[in-house]
């Protein structure tokens, strides 16, 4: 299986059984995510900004307004991009052994700006990744809009995944404590689509979009059982 090579930043120091460096695990966690938290050093202090993100091959992308101070600050900077799924709360017989099931990926690297000429293709990949067929149904993006948008990217290179699955791991002498123990799963689902009040066109229908999101969350839910 192809993998990333652990570095001083990504080598897992504790609980090795929870860690992974293989690309299949890393990619599945990234692909199950809609948002990332991007950290960088800004004027000497750490900043963590949430953003929608998407993966294409060996890179992760995020975007925003070209006027965004935070996006401009991240460009060319060392960043840590983290994607996390909280899958369940784990209830044990002692407070100490309570835990959470989760999947997370941390990427380290330098954020680079996508060239303006290449931006449309990446924004298309983002939209199509969520809603296949939608890009062509939209009013085409303009040169001015591309100018007003900054897309950043970083390689999936220095990366580590960390995950926990399964039930509580209690001390043997606690097994008869009269308290419920087990897993409380957390599920993210798409709710009923809310059409824009001023909508004059049906077109690419809401149920299609919602069904697509449901499949996204289905896959995400099944991933965690692996």
């Amino acid at each position: 299986m192809s993998g990333t090579t652990p570095t001083a930043k990504t080598r897992l120091k504790r609980l090795h059984q929870r860690g992974a460096h293989d690309r299949a695990t890393i990619d599945a966690i990234l692909d199950a995510g809609l948002i990332a938290h991007v950290g960088f050093v800004f004027e000497g202090y750490p900043v963590v900004t949430p953003t929608l993100c998407w993966r294409e091959g060996d890179h992760v992308y995020w975007h925003g307004s070209s006027a965004s101070r935070m996006l401009r600050a991240a460009e060319g900077a060392e960043v840590c991009l983290t994607v996390t799924h909280l899958d369940a709360l784990v209830c044990a017989r002692s407070a100490f052994h309570h835990s959470a099931n989760y999947r997370s990926v941390m990427l380290f690297g330098t954020a680079a700006k996508v060239a303006e000429a290449a931006q449309a293709a990446h924004l298309r990949a983002f939209v199509e990744g969520l809603y296949p067929g939608r890009w062509e149904a939209l009013r085409p993006i303009t040169a001015q809009e591309l100018k007003a948008t900054t897309t950043l990217m970083m390689p999936i290179d220095e990366a580590s995944a960390k995950l926990r699955t399964g039930g509580p791991v209690d001390d043997a002498e606690d097994m008869d404590v009269p308290v419920w123990a087990g897993v409380l799963p957390l599920l993210t689902r798409a709710g009923a689509p809310e059409a824009d009040a001023t909508a004059r066109a049906a077109g690419h229908a809401a149920p299609v979009l919602a069904a697509r999101l449901e499949r996204f969350f289905d896959r995400r839910a099944s991933d965690r059982a692996r």
Copy 2:
């Protein structure tokens, strides 16, 4: 209404209508969150770690193993703690006006270690905040377990909230583009509790815990409509 005072770090530079500094808004977003992403500078590079977190009054807390390299590195360090809820995807008539509804809080400050003698009370507040009545049903926490646990805290002082609600904001000339436009809500819910296979005791029952989580997510869902 009480509020935090904007500083150079927390003053919102763009889209002021999306920003807030009042404690009621900030606290509601923190309280609707189970996890935070904590960023700090470690050996010169930024690190963003996901962690469960909770609020008590004017402070936010998170905890982990005393052996955790990352927790030890955050102690005494300047951190940025960010809590984000992705509430919906917003579909517009143009790619450019697609957006997301979200609520997020960024806290800036120094992470301090909770004294060992005070730890149990805070861990109790965390457990009771999620599952009222559970702490007393558990096997009591031991001195050794408290030693093995590090709890960090930071004040809610330099803080800003940012949120987006509502439908797409399209250009007037795009209103007849034949594509569906509106909001696709994302909902987090508790799934069916999964009892530990070795469970010998019912005690504080699973449905109570699940119902409590459901109320938590109900409140979180209703918050976004405010």
